[in-house]
Symmetry: C2
Subunit: 221 residues, 2 copies
């Protein structure tokens, strides 16, 4: 007689993330975990990306917020599949929330799954969500010292979107300093200067998404 073994709910986030990554491998779906301060522009970046690449890729989004479904409603307007996680005060997402949220999505045929983490430059960085890559979003209004003051995200991210560059004339921000601080932690970091409101620089970001997605697909084939 086989005894059913129920997996402990206390299983570590790392183990759950590793299992999720393994399960997702065969699909060839690219999973990206977007992390930033509150208001750096993650949702606007996603709105633009979903709109501009809608002919090219099937994309879905998992939104993480303490409260409200504002961001999920913004994303839904693009026509993409989206599910909102409310952490009810929690400062980051964990893999168990992602696997739960995935049950509300039809992932068959999805090429890229974006996870928009809770707005927080600290806590989300420490929680692997089974993603293929972390993407840091930094806006120029936050100050060029942020990669130096919050190093772990920039160390672990594969790409950094430097957003709101249309505001550079009005703020005290040296883009070269920000890039240098970020690259000191991570020589391989890809950096994209963009303005999501004006559209500047998005093509390079899209190019990176295409490359990442192609690499993911190739790994399966």
């Amino acid at each position: 007689m086989e005894i059913p073994v129920v997996r402990s709910v206390f299983e570590s986030n790392e183990k759950q993330a590793a299992r999720l990554r393994e399960q997702m491998k065969s699909r060839g779906m690219l999973i990206l975990n977007l992390i930033s301060s509150p208001g750096a522009g993650k949702t606007t970046l996603l709105e633009r990306t979903l709109k501009d690449l809608s002919e090219e890729f099937t994309m879905a989004v998992i939104e993480g917020d303490l409260q409200t479904d504002n961001d999920a409603r913004r994303i839904a307007a693009s026509g993409a599949q989206v599910v909102q996680i409310n952490t009810e005060g929690g400062c980051h997402l964990e893999t168990s929330m992602i696997t739960d949220a995935m049950k509300s999505l039809d992932l068959g045929g999805v090429d890229i799954l974006f996870i928009e983490n809770v707005g927080n430059l600290v806590c989300p960085v420490e929680f692997d969500l089974g993603e293929d890559a972390k993407v840091a979003v930094l806006s120029v209004t936050e100050g060029d010292d942020k990669p130096e003051k919050y190093p772990l995200l920039f160390k672990l991210a594969s790409a950094m979107v430097l957003n709101k560059i249309d505001l550079l004339p009005y703020v005290n921000f040296d883009a070269e300093t920000a890039r240098a601080h970020a690259r000191r932690h991570n020589e391989e970091l890809k950096i994209f200067d963009v303005s999501c409101t004006k559209g500047d620089g998005l093509e390079a970001w899209y190019g990176w998404l295409r490359d990442m997605r192609a690499a993911r697909k190739k790994a399966v084939a």
Copy 2:
């Protein structure tokens, strides 16, 4: 024979905060805990305040950051006493860090002690540091939905500094919406629209500091 009893290091933050608040009562020193997203302008607000009120008050600052002493060096340039806490990745300050940091300050004669918390709109809110009041700093570049999405800070804060209003012409931010969201959680919230770089609106913030300090002193007398 008296047996020395060492206080457990695991004593709860709440108990330590309550004790610190009790100890500080007799001094008449006002303690403010500044909380915001990374880059909202807490340090610049302090730089301006320390400069503009230097004749009027003796002020000291405890700086909290994951890494670097950049902010403490900026504050020290004003001539005020300052001590830097590096949390080495920790996402918030706790009272034990404040009591430790206080040992490096000469608090005799200090009228106002500012605590600049780690840049994070979530975790620092839940940790009482023995302060008289929490001050939320929100910048207009972060979006007018932030008080709705991160309600606890705006519920618990006594004042909100709406910073970077000089950038209002360049961003999509409705100040009335932000104020309404914040006040929905907290009818008593004092709101100050300021530009720390241009100097606009600071006088009202200084008026509030004077009132708070006078009330604190009166409570002792």
